[in-house]
């Protein structure tokens, strides 16, 4: 019975939609742009923590050992290397690799501006990065005075071709090649080098480690090993699982920086505007058909019937507009990626979230616009 009624309502909604094609196209365009707007602002909003996670996403580790003062990736503080040595002996730990970070000053030997460059120091044999060009250029990394440069390092740094000599903190270095990872939010330029080169350039000692990458033995449970590590190590270090690390970076970028707040408020405004567009579109559609709705009521259709018609209409419009909007969003994301180097990526969960939000919004605006249908009195309308 209910199914039959729903089918009748659906058919009616469909007829209304195909009856006036120009008008329906207009409604679809409105809903399309509302969904696209939500996608774009959501893209910016998630791009910020995604940018913060970019470099972690290309590192090999199951658990991350940091100082308890750890803030976010580019400000990890440091801890004693001895903690890492002790961690390596904890059951379930297969490998514990130190990673060193530093800020440097990059200048062409011929002079010119001194640019801030972010320096990564590591032992290439430990393979901390899952980045092809860092692994297959290992022999290049091991040469004294040689660095590899991230290929998204900004053009102001000049050409990044192999063989070019540059100065880092006044020391002559040679670019051995480039690698493709992305600078994330580490800075406008990133250079990777092996430990020996890193210590020589920065004057740092091996003892002060910035990040400890811990890989587990096959079959080991990250939660259990994390607990064992906390037990075995002094209280001056923190153990992150991949999940808690993602939560930490996410909360840092979305709540502690104005970037997160800007895109967060952009997203909220986008949702409100989206809701308004949907409401506007549906209310216009319904207002157009008020006489017909009144007629239906006069011949015995209940308010429930008409509600179903309007809801089905709303869902159809959203359903049809959603796919092209998602496709257009991908195009816009590609544009944003190339124009801004923000790693905007559409994940299935984002798509689902936008779909759910727009459906919710359209059902909400359908209910809002239903008031006039409920009040529709056959006697008044004509």
């Amino acid at each position: 019975m209910i199914l039959r009624r729903l089918r009748v309502s659906a058919e009616l909604a469909w007829r209304i939609l195909i009856h006036e094609k120009g008008r329906t196209a207009l409604a679809l365009a409105g809903v399309f742009i509302a969904i696209l707007l939500v996608f774009i602002e959501l893209g910016f909003f998630v791009a910020v923590p995604q940018g913060g996670m970019l470099v972690y996403d290309h590192m090999r580790f199951d658990l991350l050992l940091t100082s308890t003062d750890y803030q976010f990736q580019a400000q990890p503080w440091q801890f004693a290397r001895d903690r890492l040595t002790r961690a390596a002996s904890v059951a379930g730990v297969a490998k514990a690799t130190p990673l060193y970070f530093a800020g440097g000053s990059w200048q062409d030997p011929g002079g010119g501006v001194k640019l801030d460059v972010f320096l990564l120091g590591f032992d290439p044999a430990a393979r901390p990065f899952a980045v092809a060009e860092l692994e297959n250029q290992r022999n290049m990394l091991e040469q004294p005075g040689t660095i590899l440069v991230d290929d998204t390092t900004r053009t102001i740094f000049g050409p990044l071709q192999a063989g070019r000599e540059i100065q880092i903190d006044g020391r002559r270095m040679t670019i051995g090649g480039a690698y493709h990872l992305g600078t994330g939010f580490l800075g406008i330029g990133v250079a990777a080098m092996d430990e020996a080169n890193f210590f020589r350039v920065t004057g740092r000692r091996a003892d002060a480690v910035n990040l400890g990458l811990i890989e587990l033995a096959p079959g080991a449970d990250s939660g259990i090993v994390a607990a064992a590590l906390r037990q075995a190590l002094p209280g001056d270090v923190e153990i992150f699982t991949r999940q808690t690390l993602a939560a930490q970076e996410d909360s840092y970028w979305t709540t502690r920086t104005s970037v997160g707040l800007i895109f967060g408020s952009g997203l909220i405004v986008a949702l409100i505007v989206g809701l308004m567009v949907l409401y506007q579109t549906l209310a216009t559609q319904i207002a157009r058909h008020l006489p017909q709705f009144a007629t239906l009521k006069a011949i015995g259709y209940t308010d429930g019937h008409l509600t179903a018609v309007v809801l089905v209409e709303a869902v159809i419009v959203v359903g049809v507009a959603f796919l092209p909007a998602a496709a257009a969003a991908m195009g816009v994301y590609a544009l944003i990626r190339s124009e801004t180097l923000l790693p905007v990526v559409l994940t299935p969960s984002h798509v689902a979230a936008v779909l759910a939000a727009t459906l919710l919004m359209s059902v909400g605006s359908a209910f809002l616009s239903l008031g006039s249908v409920r009040r529709a009195d056959p006697a008044d309308v004509f």
Binding site: F44, Q75, D116, T257, I262, T340
Partner: protein, 395 residues
Amino acid sequence: MAALDLSLRLVPGATVPLAWRNLVADKWRLLRSSAGIAFAVLLMLVQLGFERAFFDASLAAVRQLDGDLFVMNASKYRFGARDPFAHRELGAIRAVSGVASAAPLYADWQDFFWTSPIDGKPHLVRIFAVDPDQPPVFLLSGIADQQSLLKAEGAVLVDRRSRRFLGMDGATAAKLNGQNVRVAGNFALGPDFMSDGTVITSDREFARLTPGNRGSAAALPIEAAVAKVRPGETIAAVQQRLSAALPSSLMVMTKPEIVEFERKFQAQLSSAAPIFFLGTLVGFAVGILISYQIIYTDLSDRLPQYATLKGIGYRNSYLVRSVLAQAALTGVAGYVPAWLLSLAVYRIIRSVALLPLHMTPQLTAISFALTLGMCLLAGALAIRRVIAADPAEIF
């Protein structure tokens, strides 16, 4: 209909009354349409405001510098990157004729950590250091007038508009690079996109707190020399003399030049401009669509009336003007509430994100022009319906 007739009878040939009567004929519809347009306008205002706020925040520190001429290392690519020059150059700068004073500004953006009384953790902060016996380097009240407080040992001035997790507002004592400091006063500068908070110290304190520094304040390298020109001298002439007297490794900038230097860096290397441009563009597109829907619906409903007007001899040009006038009025009806609402939204974002988000005449003018543009464009697109209206077919 009655309203329409009346307006025609009262002011024959006038288009605005017709447009106006059409606009206000249905109060509910007007409310709905102005709400739709208002939100599109609000979206544009927020995006335009963010872009402005981004640059205002990034430029706040250099705009507060109190000097006619600034000497910095020529290898500096932005103001906010450490690249100091030798202290002895200060003497050479002061020796140039026309220079009334030259005060040293020391700065660091990477090596100073403020232990927040809130979470007890060290956080990176921006530090500026001045010689308290020299003329003020910053215009900002709270710095310029409290500079003498910095003479006391361990005294610092802090930014009360720093990010809250730093706990600078209301702090009386804290740790900077692990050493105890006393908060002698505060000022209101606000964070930018690189620094969460700002601390100001004396040169002596800066030398004491700089990690690994063993030199005295008198030997500290200088980030920028802030010079004032003697009365009666032109800034450009002194700038030329300074450039000629100093080694080519140093550059001399006027105040507008140093602000432009930093603005150019931000425009070139940050993604702010394209991001907010895209946001504004989307707001504009949404606005066109909403206003097109509004105008199209309105025109469709009044098609018989328009056809009648044509039937009794009104020309298309009159109807076009009337439709465009109505489109413009719809835009204004949406713009005014959006503008008012944006003041509240700006205020909220200002206090939550500590961004210098303010309504300015320029923002008002740009957003109003965009609003009129989108409504007129939508009106022009929808108008074909009226032109095509044939009195004989409508009835």
